[in-house]
Each structure stands twice: as structure tokens, then as C-alpha cells.
């Protein structure tokens, strides 16, 4: 196909007349284009530097995580004194045997009293739980006799 000369004379004349019209030039000069191009290039460079810094930071963090020293397990033999362990293990039970609570003492005495009568009561005064002997007037027996006297029970008038 021919690039030119394909138009008949009237069309060719019109095309030549149209071609003589000059398109309006742009208002922006080449200097403005260069300025915008410079700004654009600077922005691209800043973005590139930020990307490089981000990648370097990420690589550094990853390297630090990968090369982190593994924790070393140290094996040591620890000797513990035997007495300490036995005391610790036995102490609660012993303390319970030595220092029964007041409710347990009461139940024990009540059972002994029901089963054996007054002869079943212990010879010594029961503890109150806090280490002090119970007051004598707290458990008066029948006819004014102290039920918890050290030698069995006896009239209160015989006591000093």
C-alpha cells in the first residue's frame, strides 16, 4: 500500500491545507518537564534507598536470629543434707501427733468417757491446742469434781 499519493486531487489539496494548520504549542516548557523529571527521579531514589534499608534491616534481624548462640546445658551434682530432707518430710505428721487440735482431743476424751466411764480418762491434763493446760474449772465433774485433774478425778475441795 502506498504511503502517499493515494488521494485524488481535491482530497489531496484539502489534506495539504489542513497540514498547514499549526497545532497550538504546549504551555509547559521543557524546563518544567526537566524539573518534574528531577523531582520524580529524587522520589524514586528515596524510595529505593528506603527499600534497601528495609531489606538490610530485615536481613540483619534474620542473621541475628539464625546465628543466635544456643543455650548450653550445665550438669551439676547437688548434695543435699539428709537430715534436712527427713525433717521436712516428717515434720507435719509429728507435729500433728504432738499437738493434736482441741476438737480431736475433745472427741477422743468423749469416746473414752462413753466407752470406759470416768476411769477411761487420761491421767494428765489434755492440752488446749495452743500448748497451755485447760483450766480446771472449765470441766467440772459431777459433785464439783474436776474431771481433768492429774491423778484421776477427785473432789475440788481437796485441791489446794
Amino acid at each position: 500500500m502506498r504511503e502517499s499519493g493515494s488521494l485524488n486531487p481535491p482530497k489531496g489539496d484539502l489534506a495539504e491545507a489542513l497540514k498547514r494548520l499549526r497545532p497550538a504549542p504546549p504551555r509547559a516548557s521543557l524546563h518544567e518537564v526537566w524539573y518534574v523529571a528531577g523531582v520524580e527521579a529524587g522520589r524514586r531514589r528515596a524510595v529505593a534507598w528506603r527499600a534497601v534499608a528495609a531489606v538490610a534491616l530485615a536481613a540483619g534481624i534474620a542473621l541475628a536470629i539464625v546465628r543466635r548462640p544456643t543455650p548450653v546445658a550445665v550438669e551439676r551434682i547437688v548434695y543435699l543434707p539428709k537430715e534436712t530432707t527427713s525433717i521436712v518430710a516428717v515434720a507435719p505428721q509429728e507435729r500433728m501427733a504432738v499437738e493434736p487440735s482441741s476438737s480431736a482431743t475433745y472427741v477422743h476424751l468423749r469416746d473414752a468417757l462413753v466407752q470406759y466411764g470416768l476411769s477411761g480418762l487420761p491421767a494428765s491434763l489434755p492440752a488446749t491446742g495452743d500448748g497451755r493446760p485447760a483450766p480446771r474449772h472449765a470441766f467440772p465433774g459431777p459433785d464439783g469434781i474436776d474431771a481433768f485433774s492429774p491423778g484421776g478425778w477427785y473432789p475440788m475441795s481437796e485441791r489446794g
Binding site: 493515494s6 482530497k11 497540514k19 499549526r22 497550538a24 504546549p26 509547559a28
Partner: protein
């Protein structure tokens, strides 16, 4: 693609093709947006790493793509560009030496279908050959030739017709 575009090359391209590129961009958008389109294309040329093998065709193809994108964006924004386009400068510089009136020519061109108007602008004011025009538009050379013939015929009928209001 060969080497980075030098300042002299870009200045030469700007001086030779900027008016035609602006006229080409105005086939889709108004004057202000067309200026931005041409500027963006030259900025892309300046910031590019290599000069295109055929810079002229590359420039017109880029302007076409940018202008169509801008036209779509304007259409989405609600056609505000049309209000400003009424006070926009004309497409051509009026000159008494021209055989045709610039405003009449612009009006006749505006009446053409967009695909024919695009071919006319590329062929007459950009100086592109038929094959280069076909490469820019993205159609076959025969289609470009057909559109050019049809457009010239339509312009001839419009511009050579006597004015209806003119007294005999």
C-alpha cells in the same frame, strides 16, 4: 532500546513533536489534562533507562495510552472536564496565511468519529506513515488507510460546503 536518553535528544523530540502530541492528546481530554499527559510522557522518557528504538512512535503510543487513561478517570470523576473545556484554547494557532480557518477546521474535526479523527491527526500533524500510524493505533494498515480516506472525504464535504446562513 539503546542508551539512556540525553538532554539534547529529549529537547529535540520535545521541540519537534510536543505540539502534535498535545493535539493528539486533546482528542480524548481537555487542554489542561492534555498538557499533563504530554508532560508525564516526557518525564517518563527522561527518567527511563534507555531511549526507545523509535522514539517518535513510542511518544505517540504513550500519549495515546495516557490520554485514554485520563479520559476514563475524568469520566469516573463526573465529567467536570467538559465545563473547563469551553474556555480552553483552540487546537490550532490561528493565522491569516492559512487557507482554512482554524476554528472551522477544529469544528469539522470534532464532528468526525473518534477513530477517524485519531488517524487524521496522526497522519497530517504528526507526520507518521501509514504503518507507523497503524502501530500507534493498534490496527492493520489497511484499516488505517480506509479511515483516513473516509475522514478526508467527510472533512471535504463539511469544509467546502457553503454556509447555510450566508446570503447569496
Amino acid at each position: 532500546m539503546s542508551k539512556p536518553p540525553g538532554d539534547a535528544t529529549v529537547a529535540e523530540l520535545f521541540g519537534a513533536h510536543a505540539p502534535a502530541l498535545l493535539l493528539y492528546a486533546r482528542q480524548w481530554v481537555g487542554a489542561e489534562e492534555a498538557e499533563d499527559v504530554v508532560q508525564r510522557v516526557f518525564v517518563r522518557l527522561l527518567t527511563g533507562r534507555r531511549l526507545p528504538s523509535d522514539p517518535r512512535t513510542w511518544l505517540f503510543r504513550c500519549v495515546r495510552n495516557e490520554a485514554i487513561d485520563a479520559w476514563r478517570s475524568i469520566r469516573r470523576r463526573g465529567r467536570r472536564e467538559h465545563v473547563a473545556a469551553r474556555d480552553a484554547p483552540g487546537w490550532f494557532v490561528p493565522s491569516p496565511e492559512d487557507g482554512l480557518d482554524a476554528r472551522d477546521a477544529q469544528a469539522a474535526l470534532n464532528a468526525l468519529p473518534p477513530e477517524e479523527r485519531e488517524v487524521i491527526v496522526l497522519r497530517l500533524w504528526s507526520g507518521l506513515t501509514l504503518s507507523e500510524t497503524a502501530a500507534v493505533v493498534g490496527v492493520a494498515v489497511s484499516i488505517v488507510h480506509h479511515r483516513f480516506e473516509s475522514a478526508i472525504e467527510a472533512l471535504r464535504q463539511k469544509l467546502e460546503a457553503p454556509c447555510e446562513n450566508q446570503d447569496p
